[in-house]
Symmetry: C2
Subunit: 208 residues, 2 copies
Amino acid sequence: MISEKTIGRLSAYRRLLNTLAETGETYIYSHQLGSLAGSTAAQVRRDLMVIGCNGSPARGYEVPVLIEAIGDFLDAPQGMGAAMVGSGRLGQAILEYFRGRRPKLSFSVAFDADESKTGRTIHGCPCHPLADLPRLIAEKEITVAVLAVPAREAQAACDALVRAGVRSVLNFAPVRLRVPKGIHVEDMDMTTALEKAAYFARVDESND
Amino acid sequence: MISEKTIGRLSAYRRLLNTLAETGETYIYSHQLGSLAGSTAAQVRRDLMVIGCNGSPARGYEVPVLIEAIGDFLDAPQGMGAAMVGSGRLGQAILEYFRGRRPKLSFSVAFDADESKTGRTIHGCPCHPLADLPRLIAEKEITVAVLAVPAREAQAACDALVRAGVRSVLNFAPVRLRVPKGIHVEDMDMTTALEKAAYFARVDESND
């Protein structure tokens, strides 16, 4: 089992490599990639060895080869459809942000409890009533979902997703979800992140 | 100096307490708040003691009192204006998400390199050319900023912010920023989070 941190770093490396490829870079040394990603050269080499990539001491790693190797490792070969649960302001922003961003990972269905949001397509993704969640998740064999519902609805929505077959949840609600063993939860709390940033802007100032 | 983790938990407690207050709850025990937030009762009591709150053994903590005490601790008394750097798809989504969400923390200015985005108001926030960043950040005495620019522009934008007086950055770009000592950086990488979630949805499945 590869560690969560390694997976996170491989994903970050790919985004950095994509940026380098756009500017026409063809080779990169582990210490250069490490410096961009905030890792050591040794860490980069270990992470890339996990996916079977070894650089040349003289020229480093070939950028397009690395991008493809990371894709082969991280992405589902046939592509993957994710579900968005909660299609309010945050859910819509996330749908918009990810639209067309990854060829092998996209949102194929969205849900909301509010009837004014269902029955239409939001940023390319059809939005259905929450009542249809169990059936649609199972039918479409969706295994990854993003939770962007209010805090008080998060646990119930998560339970419904797991019962329907979801194995991994990216949770934007400020709640610690309880899930059965083997189910992966990734927490992202944007409000807390901004409040922390704002707090340390003030505290550092007063320490001057 | 209070730890980052304590600040993050206090912010999360407040959001949970706001939810409870909406449903009319007036008292809460530390073990209840801990269970919602994924902390132990002892951890909750320690965190709340930091901000001078002690619950009653018989009734627990008074919800509105806690909400106010956390606000007095976390929020700038006169409110705080943040800057958004990068007003593309992600920046706009974040501006929309936070609009009106916090009375004492809001975006007062946005920047973009693209002239089609500047000179207008985006989700209530005036958007200016990047060239005006040094002057406006200094004039408005802004100390906290969100970076939502492409990876290759993130370090230069961060440098400009710090030179202009910013003390704390919430960074959405997949780059490890280099900052002088005393400057706070909070990283949020939504793409990596979704890719990690998708990977573990597949890997857990194959382990079945």
